[in-house]
């Protein structure tokens, strides 16, 4: 039989490592959305002394390359310090899997982003963000690129659904160009809060809709 993936990918796809959730994780991240086709959740436990990743788990709603990348990236990250783990690239993950079909790159990048976001989430929650620069509107816009519009599977910034972003005295105000009774309004609102709230100088997130 022939498959469109390497043996290594198939092995991790069939028997993924480090699958599941961690209760009370020190850091977590959810990247992608069901709408864009793939979604990955990453949970980490960090040793507060050594800053090493003591435990890591992932969950995937995705295709074979998404599952396999989640499996290999958690293998690679386990036991590394958060600074080392942050530097793991998609290329390293892909090489460790014996290569991925180019068209599948976007499915597997999510797992790599998931790991980085989980580490950042840990750093933010534990006051470890070193360069504490004040959050700018530009930085907020970058974050909102990770919030998906389930209708199109593309992010809110790219689909021009962000009408206004304001940052004032620790309060972020985001205006989304959708009616409040839109079928995905509450999902989008939750997602925005989850992505923006961990920023060190953000105290409150207000999400408003246009109608």
């Amino acid at each position: 039989m022939r498959f469109p993936y390497s043996e290594k990918v198939l092995e991790h796809f069939r028997h993924p490592h480090n699958v599941g959730q961690i209760e009370h994780p020190d850091g977590k991240a959810i990247e992608g959305s069901p709408a864009c086709g793939d979604m990955v959740a990453v949970y980490i436990k960090v040793d507060s002394e050594t800053k090493r990743i003591a435990d890591i788990k992932f969950e995937s709603y995705g295709c074979a390359s998404n599952i396999a990348t989640g499996s290999i990236i958690t293998d690679l990250a386990k036991g590394k310090t958060i600074d080392e783990a942050k530097k793991i690239t998609w290329k390293e993950a892909s090489d460790a899997l014996g290569g991925l079909p180019p068209i599948k790159a976007h499915c597997s990048v999510l797992a790599v982003e998931g790991l980085r976001t989980a580490i950042r989430n840990y750093e933010e929650r534990h006051g470890l963000v070193k360069d504490k620069e004040p959050t700018t509107v530009e930085a907020l816009r970058r974050r909102l690129r990770h919030v998906m519009n389930p209708l199109t599977g593309l992010d809110l910034v790219r689909t021009k659904l962000i009408k206004e972003i304001e940052m004032k005295d620790g309060t972020v105000r985001v205006v989304v160009d959708l009616p409040a009774d839109h079928q995905f309004a509450s999902a989008i609102k939750e997602d925005i809060i989850e992505k923006v709230e961990p920023l060190w100088d953000v105290e409150k997130v207000l999400v408003e809709f246009t109608e």
């Binding site: 069939r14 709408a35 864009c36 086709g37 979604m39 709603y61 599977g153």
Partner: protein, 390 residues
Amino acid sequence: MFGKLVYLDNAASTRLDERVLEAMKPYFFETYAVATSEFGYSIGIEAKEALEKARGTLTPALGASPEELIFTSGSTESSNLALKGVAMALGEKKGRHIITSKIEDFPVLNSAKSLEKQGFRITYLNVDSEGFVDFDQLRGSLTDDTILVSVQHANQEIGTIQDIESIGRLCREKGVIFHTDATHTFTRVPLDVRKMPVDLITISAHTIHGPKGIGGLYTRKGTPIKNLMDGGFQEFNLRAGLENIPGAVGFAKAVELVTPEENEQLMTMRDRLIDRVLSEIPHTTLNGHRWKRTPHNANITFHFVEGESITLHLDMRGFAVSTGSACFSRSLQASHVILGIGGDHERAHGSVRFTFGRYNTMEDANGVVEAIAEIVKELRAISPLRETTA
């Protein structure tokens, strides 16, 4: 290592029937002349006779006369010829408006889009949650400018069979040409042009255990249509190019071999699969209508899991199926059919199409249900979506 392959993607392609191959063979090795050489030598006459005999065998399956069928290279060419041929014949004389549906297969959909770029106005009809076209929208869209309506007989993914009799009658009242893509229904679902007001019908051999590379376009006598390819005077001057005589002979044989009993048998396997999946696997949704669907098609969404993962796991266990997931398609686009029936992306990504054929058995239907039940359970166990909604 994995045992025999259970092929459940018969809407995409089918295994050739040996009897079809046997019927074709003489036209590769003995009667290999072209049909246009009938005035030159005897095997030219034989070739011409074989072609016309094949045509005469095929057309009764549609209630048509032999001179109303043009052989083509398959469904894609047939639908291109129907849409563009009519547009070229009537675009200047009558009008530049064409009506089709949102869930057509790509030959029709992309022919329409291509005509749109050339200045034709296209209405893409909405469909309801089971895939039936909005009849009122169709009625309201027909204008004096409308030259063609193209609505498929049944859908390629969800199998929904349209009420083409009513659509055809409406077109007839307004004097508009009606084309239907019958790729997935020909010989499986009755379609008789003596009863149904249809002017153009796309058919193909590859879906009924015939060879690839041969199809046809039924063209009702008097339908204004222009040829797309220039060349010789084959196929009533509507399709230039050397006739594919072995293909035509194989197509005719394939049609002869389909029986009502076989269609019944396909339907029994389909129903077993649908009933078992819906009752045994939680969080599943049938896509399309429960009964008004092609006899061999089952399309089901398995929520909280992604289709490519399901198909790959099934493949490892020896089952071949297809999915509407974006990850499965070359365009990375989710199924336009599932989105068209009002499904969200999640419903498209988790959709799996099972299509039965002559070489499947009830054991295959039961086997795939048992395999997919296990696979879906495993994939749901690692999915972050399960808890929020399960």
